[in-house]
Amino acid sequence: MYKKNDHPMTDAELEGLLAELSQVPQRNPDNAARTKARYLIAVGKSLQASTTEQTIKTRRKKEFREMKPFFKKFSLAFTLAAVLLVFLLGGLGVTAAAASSALPGDPLYGVKTGWEQTRLQLTRQDFKKVELNLAYAQNRLDEIETLIAAERLGDLEASVQAYETYILEALAGLEAIRSNSMAVDSQLDRAITASLGKYTADLETLSNRVQTQRRTRFDEAILFSKSAGAYHGKIEFVGTVNAINPDLWVVSGLEVIITASTEIEMGIDVGQQVEVEGWVDALGSIYAREIEHEADGRAFSLNGKGEFLGIVNEIQPDYWVVNGIRFEVSATARIEPGIRVGDFVEVEFVRNDKDEYILREAEFAFDDDEYVGSVDEIHTEYWVIDGLRFELLPKSRIEKGIKVGDFVEVEFVRNASGENYLLEVEFADSEIYGVADEINTDHWIVNGIRCEVLPNTKSEPGIKVGDYVEVEFVRNQAGEYILLDVEHEDAYNSSDAGYGHHRHGGDDDEMVGFVDEIHSDYWVINGIRFNLLPKSEIEWGLKVGDFVEVEFFKNSAGAYFLLEVEHEDD
């Protein structure tokens, strides 16, 4: 440990001190919750005040007319804050603690589940919501275990249903995250699969502890846990009910699995049109979350046209069958490439005078997705980009000149079987930093790269040869760099950033950076060319890729000259 008046501080000693200082003990959850409650109250007041200020005149008139109840004026945040404060500061804290061990049927069970709902409402990050939903699913399994031990088998239903609901919420959360980040997506996928595997095992163990006649319910929950692990995506479609069985319906020829948590509207019969909402697993099996009457048959009668989601049963040159319904394919139908039998599609159609359905448009029900990464492999039937396989289609659009190692942007869709279909791949927009070597009317050379200038190219005024610039470019089909925007690199120009290279007149300056190139008469560091001088001092052993500290000066012509370069351990 560094001690004053002993010796100058070394890098390691400073690192040690900073590491110690970075240690922060776990934040006390009660204190954190109180601080949050203070904030929520302030939010409530602030929003209330804002509303008051903006609408006071109109609101008075409106309130007088409508006589709205007083409590409606309060915001959700204010109410939640009040609840939180009561829980944290008041006598109900004891109640909350007691409620944590409550079971279905107990008087305090509602307090326990209400508290869970409050926490879910207060959590805004999808990732945390998924974690919370999984944790609450585990709570329900713990309750099931306690109920079995206490032989309160009649109360099991509520916990089993709630368990499935929390799992579905977690899966819905996963769906929300899926579109944002593939890395997080796969991480969460693994977490959910692991959790569901554990839950399945727990349920199987619990199922063995109850009498045979009670096991049916557990078997349903076990099936649910196993199937939910293969969750692929949320679906919603309209169809005609062909058959109704306790655990399996057939809707427009499609088998729809009924789970314990499936909500079914009363009075649905065979032959009626229904709207099915649920999810599909990677094998294409459909699980219903909710089945209800299709409202007034609007999907098929609205001004003779409509749209719905469904599964492709058959593809023929002149007609398609989706959800058991035949759609005639006209010459003007817009059909997204890559759709195959079994895929979920969104269909737009019209009905003609002969009561035929004419297909106007069919596209993947799952949105196109975009992905940016480096090309790992190129094959005639598929590409691998950052480890992810993309199947090629006859109509896949591929920008010319792309080769393994290039950084590309991919547009694709994922079908019901989890395969990715490449719609388009092109060079990703990119930017480089470097020294402007040449400036011409039709092209610039930056860091030795020729960038073509187009009429819409933007360039910051005042840039001259030798300046350090930020270049935004795209690659065209011929592989040329097309200059989109070029400007002075701000950080480089800022004296705070440690460069200060605009101090002309031969002042010495210094910077840190990585060695890009080493030549006998010049070095390139961070993209900047530094000319060597007879007096340049170079530390022994430096090589390309090293992080170095450079002392240099810039002459009035804008050229950089290296005075000293040495290893920089920071």
Binding site: T35, G498, E549
Partner: protein, 175 residues
């Protein structure tokens, strides 16, 4: 959630709560490191977000990175606190959790940490942020650069400068 140059009308209730969820822990850790005391750090967090709400209520758009703004408000709160509370005495008086049993060493560590806190508070804002986010919070350079609105290279350079200044602040005493 990073919000840049946002007009105040986007700060609806949900957004305001999400902003708190996203940033309160990191502001707390920053405050704790600077103040060394949990309750004070909580007070700082509460006041930072209250000031943020007051700012939103003025109807003026926030410019720059929201996280950087919150750190700036927290920094001002901490500096104000020390100004009112005689900095030297208080900085020395706030121990950090991990302690060594050796009294002489303990005293030296306390002095060093107190000095380091002062030196950190004296850094220019962007250098302080780099140390806080990159060194303390272990963020990748790309994320730090995003908050600072600078390039990764510039952020590296800022860290280099900041560490150099911190070392110098100790070595000035030594000399």
């Amino acid at each position: 959630m990073d919000v840049q140059s946002q007009a105040p009308h986007i700060f609806d209730e949900e957004t305001l709560i999400a902003l708190y969820d996203d940033h309160s822990d990191s502001i707390y850790r920053y405050a704790f490191r600077s103040l060394g005391e949990a309750n004070l750090a909580e007070d700082c967090v509460a006041d930072v977000f209250t000031r943020f709400l007051e700012r939103v209520a003025t109807g003026k758009a926030l410019t720059g990175n929201l996280r950087a703004y919150l750190y700036r408000v927290a920094h001002n709160w901490i500096v104000d606190y020390y100004r009112q509370e005689k900095p030297e005495a208080d900085l020395e008086a706030q121990p950090l959790p991990a302690r060594n049993a050796n009294p002489e060493k303990h005293l030296s560590e306390k002095e060093n940490q107190a000095h380091l806190r002062q030196a950190l508070l004296a850094l220019p804002e962007d250098q302080r942020l780099v140390i806080e986010l990159r060194v303390m919070e272990k963020w990748p350079y790309e994320a730090v650069a995003d908050v600072l609105g600078k390039s990764v290279e510039a952020s590296r350079a800022l860290q280099y400068r900041a560490l150099k200044k911190l070392r110098q602040s100790f070595n000035l005493q030594w000399m």
